[in-house]
């Protein structure tokens, strides 16, 4: 397969939900543009995107590590107690003939969030260079998929329901990870909404660098 030829018009784009060709206006920071036909948000220009997202991502790394190394839930009943971590929940399924569901829980609650945070950190570090290298493009391309499968907020609602169920039989002891995870839910939401991918895509090194912006030969000589 060969590379497609880019069009020489930066403001022209097609809506990802209805394919309507349109010109995207230059936006004020904080403003957004929507598709006139299907109302899909085409672009929202973020304020100070890289710095804010970086701060939130670093916070997410710290919270993620704490959340997965201390107990999340415990209970005491007639002098006995039990506790579990997030990974412990998945492990219990694995050990009780529910391997597939165990892997799914591990993936959606532990692995996908780690990828979501880790890829974002790498993307930001790369994007802070004056000319983000090609590997940033590869990571940026797969980042939305990690977001789809990262389900910490769903898990937290599930934990809440489990808590109420268990409270019928035993005294529930909330662990540190429970509080840390709730904070992480909001940090992750902030991380997604402060990041401006269009801004990074605009500066990134192209896979087919020779044809960037149709600049052709001049650019090849300049970079090689």
């Amino acid at each position: 397969m060969s590379y497609n030829q880019p069009i020489n018009d930066h403001s022209l784009l097609a809506c990802q939900h209805c394919d309507l060709l349109q010109r995207i206006p230059e936006l004020e920071p904080g403003a957004s543009a929507r598709c006139p036909r299907c109302n899909k948000e085409l672009w929202r220009r973020r304020v100070d995107s890289l710095n804010r997202t970086f701060a939130l991502t670093v916070a997410a790394v710290v919270l993620y590590i704490i959340a997965n190394s201390v107990p999340m839930l415990g209970l005491t009943i007639v002098g006995r107690d039990a506790q579990t971590t997030v990974i412990g929940g998945a492990l219990h399924l694995w050990n009780n003939d529910q391997k597939v569901v165990g892997v799914l829980v591990l993936f959606t609650a532990v692995i996908a969030p780690a990828l979501q945070i880790g890829l974002m950190l790498a993307i930001l570090l790369g994007a802070m260079r004056p000319r983000p290298p090609q590997w940033v493009a590869t990571l940026l391309r797969y980042h939305p998929t990690t977001k789809i499968w990262s389900m910490i907020e769903v898990m937290m609602v599930g934990v809440l329901v489990a808590l109420v169920k268990i409270a019928d039989y035993a005294t529930v002891v909330p662990g540190l990870a429970l509080f840390v995870l709730w904070v992480l839910v909001f940090i992750l939401a902030g991380m997604s909404s402060s990041f401006d991918s269009r801004d990074v895509w605009d500066r990134i090194q192209w896979a087919d660098e020779a044809h960037r912006d149709g600049a052709g030969e001049a650019l090849v000589e300049g970079t090689s």
């Binding site: 209805c18 493009a137 896979a207």
Partner: protein, 218 residues
């Protein structure tokens, strides 16, 4: 907006699903790679209808055992007791616990069935080339895309209930055989949403617009 009402496909352009760049296939080629992010490009997702139908049927089949088989088995000194998802909703219902009961009812029973019906409706109307209710249909697609993940709530409830209540010989809770089918419904419907190309909803309308109006191609 004064842009001509034309789609990228009608203009012979491919829009990258990875990075949004518009590009034109090289002369003589049908499709190529995105020059910016290297993604493989096409006008529409390949085999979108077939793949979405396949995932949707798989989800619909798993939906039955997911609701009939127990998802949790509670063992006490008095004996073992198995609950399906619906029984779990009923058990949660109490003067204080009813809001959570409703959360589980909506997330585990209403969302999965609504998702299967909505995707079926989108597939059938789009394949028949419907041009009606495009705005409602795209809104429905976005809703299905947005709420799909919330069906996982019950999987997490059962996971952590089972992981914690291990107080042998007093009482223990184990996941039941229905859980894997329930998780499969969630995963298959999410994959169905991912393989559906929402741009197909608009293609019939775009074609009609191009025929009725004199569109000048650039």
């Amino acid at each position: 907006m004064s842009a001509p009402a034309m789609t990228a496909m009608q203009a012979g352009l491919q829009s990258c699903e990875g990075c949004g760049l518009l590009s034109r296939p090289a002369p003589g080629e049908e499709e190529g790679q995105c020059p910016r992010c290297d993604e493989e490009l096409s006008f529409r997702k390949h085999g979108s209808f077939q793949r979405t139908w396949a995932y949707l049927l798989a989800a619909a089949i798993c939906y039955i055992p997911a609701n009939v088989l127990p998802v949790l088995t509670t063992t006490t000194a008095a004996g073992a007791d198995s609950d399906t998802i619906l029984q779990g909703v009923v058990l949660l219902w109490s003067p204080t616990g009813w809001p959570l009961s409703i959360i589980v009812l909506v997330a585990s029973i209403m969302i999965p069935s609504a998702k299967i019906l909505a995707l079926g409706y989108l597939l059938i109307t789009t394949q028949r080339g419907s041009v009606a209710n495009n705005e409602q249909r795209i809104r429905m697609y976005r809703m299905v895309e947005f709420i799909g993940r919330w069906s996982m709530v019950d999987v997490f409830v059962d996971t952590f209930t089972a992981a914690l209540i291990q107080l042998q010989p007093l009482m223990s809770v184990e996941p039941g055989p229905g859980l894997i089918f329930f998780a499969a419904v969630v995963v298959f419907t999410m994959l169905a949403v991912e393989s559906f190309d929402p741009r197909l909803i608009w293609d019939s309308a775009s074609m009609q617009a191009a025929e009725s109006k004199e569109v000048t191609y650039a």
